[in-house]
């Protein structure tokens, strides 16, 4: 279940059963290749659900050449080698939306790039209304359930493109 408050109000949804890490990464890459300036991707899922794997694929789709590693320690990693800047945020250590403001989440969201927020449920109130929300659930040793929900025009357009690309 998506814990987004308006889960039912999503404009578009897509549910995929990922067979393994490679597939999760490939989905990220497919999405990354289609992202545009100002897109915000919110990731929700427990430890080991594949959030960072998905983001690594997404970075590849943006043609980013650096290693995309965990931003947990410094909260935000920035990558400029790709088609668009990528801001990779980890909100695990951010208590709430007010703290998110304090560390400048807004600056990333209103920037010229793509923003990916892990542990997004912690800072939900600080995120824009038009967000592509991805919930990852543990299903088995390798399997993960990926549920995409698009909450606005921009994110719905991106999800449509992803659906089209993977023939879903």
């Amino acid at each position: 279940m998506s814990s987004h408050p308006d889960a039912v109000a999503a404009k578009r949804r897509l549910e995929i059963l990922s067979a393994n890490v490679e597939m999760t990464r490939a989905l990220g890459e497919q999405l990354g290749a289609r992202l545009e300036r100002g897109d915000v991707i919110a990731l929700q899922g427990d430890l080991g659900a594949g959030k960072t794997n998905f983001t690594q694929g997404l970075a590849q789709g943006l043609a980013i050449v650096e290693d995309v590693n965990s931003p947990t320690f410094i909260l935000a990693n920035e990558y400029f080698s790709g088609r668009l800047p990528l801001y990779h945020i980890d909100a695990y250590r951010v208590a709430d939306a007010a703290e998110a403001d304090a560390f400048g989440l807004d600056d990333y969201l209103n920037s010229d790039g793509v923003t990916v927020v892990e542990w997004a449920e912690r800072v939900r109130a600080a995120l824009p209304s038009d967000v592509l929300w991805l919930t990852l659930d543990y299903r088995g040793e390798n399997e993960r359930r990926l549920e995409f929900s698009a909450y606005g025009e921009q994110s719905a357009a991106r999800l449509d493109e992803l659906k089209h690309a993977i023939g879903s």
Partner: protein, 343 residues
Amino acid sequence: MSPLILGIETSCDETAAAVIQDGCRILSNVVASQADLHARYGGVYPELASREHMLKIIPVIDTALRDAQVSWRDLSALAVTHGPGLAGSLLVGVNAAKGIALGQNLPLLGMNHLEGHIYANWLDAGLPYVAQTEDVFPLVALIASGGHSSLVLMRGHGEYTELGHTIDDAAGEAFDKIARLLGLGYPGGPAIQRAAEAGDAAAFKLPRAQTQRPYDFSFSGLKTAVLNLTKKLDARALLVNDIAASAQAAIVDMLVEKTQRAAETCAARMVLLAGGVAANQRLRERMRARVACPVLYPPPKLCVDNAAMIASAATWHYRARAHSGWDLDVIPNLKLTLAVMSG
């Protein structure tokens, strides 16, 4: 005259100040830890951390000077960590340092936190500061902490080449996350080491990830393997200890294997361990058993974040007259290669 340097460190959750003479003699080393505070929340919370730094920074600096029995006039320079780390936390230290340096007319040295970790090995009973340069270089340093994991080749003081780094989680972060999966609390490193003492390291066969580049690290697959184990097994204490021991063995094996390979390829005369993970007993033992050249590591209290290591590293910058300007800024993702001295 031997340089007397005040170091300030606030990159994460420790507010620290220290006075170091000649790069190796600790006259004072004050660390106000927020560990208790953050343990309650299961990790470091950035805004909480900067507020604590603000409250503690001036008392900590005062105590460092008093413990060292020196006054502002005795100091040669002031050194402060300006990256990598949490922006808000770094800012408290850098602003305090700038204000003091300006007011007391002292040279300001902006330091790289990772360089500091390496130089913890030069403090006190560690490598002697005086000369001996030819005896220790080239050396390979393994920096492993909650935020960093990299292998660095040093050809001389201030000459760093990064050989490899983690492609996902830092080693200390892997300890933290695995401890979380096992319900062992925070910080994960000491918690896992404790649990592992009562466990069997051969109980579970956990993956040692291979990476494309020879000196990189990857710990994310190990984390997932532990996750799968916890889903499969019930959480009896005995199993938790066995999993902790097996996971610790896997992390240590990966760190030792890459370091040993780097030391051999680079014909290192010495291997230095640095960062919080360098306090891990198994890592120290296995590294010494596997690496042919001498392996050095700081005492546990100098492995974790402190300001003595910052002042020690700063001594070389001071000698090279590599002072920072008043526009010194915090750089949360500062790389070690940028710290190369001009002098």
